[in-house]
Symmetry: C2
Amino acid sequence: MNYDALKLENQLCFPLYACAREIVKRYKPFLDEIDLTYTQYIAMMVLWEHRQVTSKLLGEKLRLDSGTLTPVLKKLEEKGLVDRARDPQDERNLVVTLTPRGEALRTAAARVPEQMAACVSLEPDEAATLYKLLYKLLGNN
Amino acid sequence: MNYDALKLENQLCFPLYACAREIVKRYKPFLDEIDLTYTQYIAMMVLWEHRQVTSKLLGEKLRLDSGTLTPVLKKLEEKGLVDRARDPQDERNLVVTLTPRGEALRTAAARVPEQMAACVSLEPDEAATLYKLLYKLLGNN
DNA sequence: CTATAATTAATTGTGTCCAATTTAATAAAG
DNA sequence: CTTTATTAAATTGGACACAATTAATTATAG
């Protein structure tokens, strides 16, 4: 019996898994400067863009469920970066809103993508191809 | 000030991060059948190929440190799939060896890559490109 | 040979992730 | 209007992932 398909080097999943962790690791020194974890950072990204979102919408954008999101949002609230409140129109919904302090962090955060760009050794066209392939993989969920 | 670089949709890191989690999630039903988590599965892959490795080498291959690996290997030992023992030549090293039961699992595991292939909607050439780009990204660590 | 350095696992603490369940609120059906 | 179904967050439990520290062993320098 041929077990080649079971070799680590023949997996597509493994470099994907390793790469994702590697990139998060490369973000860490830059994110440390603004005291955010990677998960907190991508949550803040959505808030910087929209200022206010429901937990449900945030979860859809980040592809994370409440089990992950709830503690992250509580942490961001603790840091004074967001407010958490129920929607009076529908109390099932949690509305997350950027605070002035959260908004203020945006300027410092803007330097992160610049710094990261220097860390990724892909040509622009390679990055574009990678981006497209990843979204194609994600697409059919 | 232009904050476009801070938008989630303009990140390369995010689809990478989301994709990695998505793929692990798609593995789950197949891995459940052989009672392995994803991390346990990739550790077993190395063992199926080499039968015996040090914890250090395994960590290098999987890009995981002892903080992650130690509990995973203890779990695999609990399940009777591997043995854990110190190297008599150098007691700092932990030698992990496949048990007959671990070896026996290989046949069942061989079906996992087949089943997964059907789950990934990329053309062979696209998968090859993705593979190459991911390893290029990983390369310069 | 002995003190110091280096190497390897294990441990500790924090923060995800996710499946499954629970709780609360709203919607829909009868 | 009330019972049932649906929806959304929170909670719980298990398993990573990693930085930092500790402990044990081996190597090296003087």
